[in-house]
Symmetry: C2
Subunit: 132 residues, 2 copies
Amino acid sequence: MTLSTTAQDLIGAWERGNVLAAGCPSRGILQHLTSKWGTLVMVTLATGPHRFAELRRRIAGVSERMLAQTLQQLEADGFVLRVARDVVPPHVSYSLTPLGVEAAAHVVALTAWIETNLPRLGPPLPRPQAER
Amino acid sequence: MTLSTTAQDLIGAWERGNVLAAGCPSRGILQHLTSKWGTLVMVTLATGPHRFAELRRRIAGVSERMLAQTLQQLEADGFVLRVARDVVPPHVSYSLTPLGVEAAAHVVALTAWIETNLPRLGPPLPRPQAER
């Protein structure tokens, strides 16, 4: 291996994240994508662009404040694109960026796995009582 | 489609989770797997069984209390197996169950994607200052 390749590998390792290291920025990204609402926003936007009110309706239980904050984080990370059309009334829609599409594929795979395997997971669900 | 197939599909849809529904237990499972420490425990155990102290050392920043709580949740969900060998001093090790291995595959894929793509994500990282 040449010195140049070794140096290149070294720099590659520095640029690569390490979620097990406390200070690594990859931890923040991971938390945004896997936060309670972050995951659900990514899964919903994976089905196509949505307006704010549509997102709120589809993601049961999210507050206006938490949804706005989640969208801002995902936008800052580069996963979500916010497009405001200058019309009256204002029309703002949210969609996944190409990077967001890549990330969402993993979030959707994990979520789909949980949904499909739910009967095998956790403590047994309560079953209807047999008639006596 | 026969009545029996239709009924079977219907029951299948009931048993399948829906993370977008507020009351669905899949949300709890998703949160355990994607919690800050849940993700890191799954990724670490995906490399093989670990004792408690080993996990704490590898996952920078986790407190004893949070690690214990995270392991208990993942054990209750059926992802983690806790094996206590009755020796002196006591030897307790944690590993993934077969179900945990399946779930970890998705968590690892997401985490690896983030680590690999970190240079493309988020606000630009600070670069060393040029000399003046």
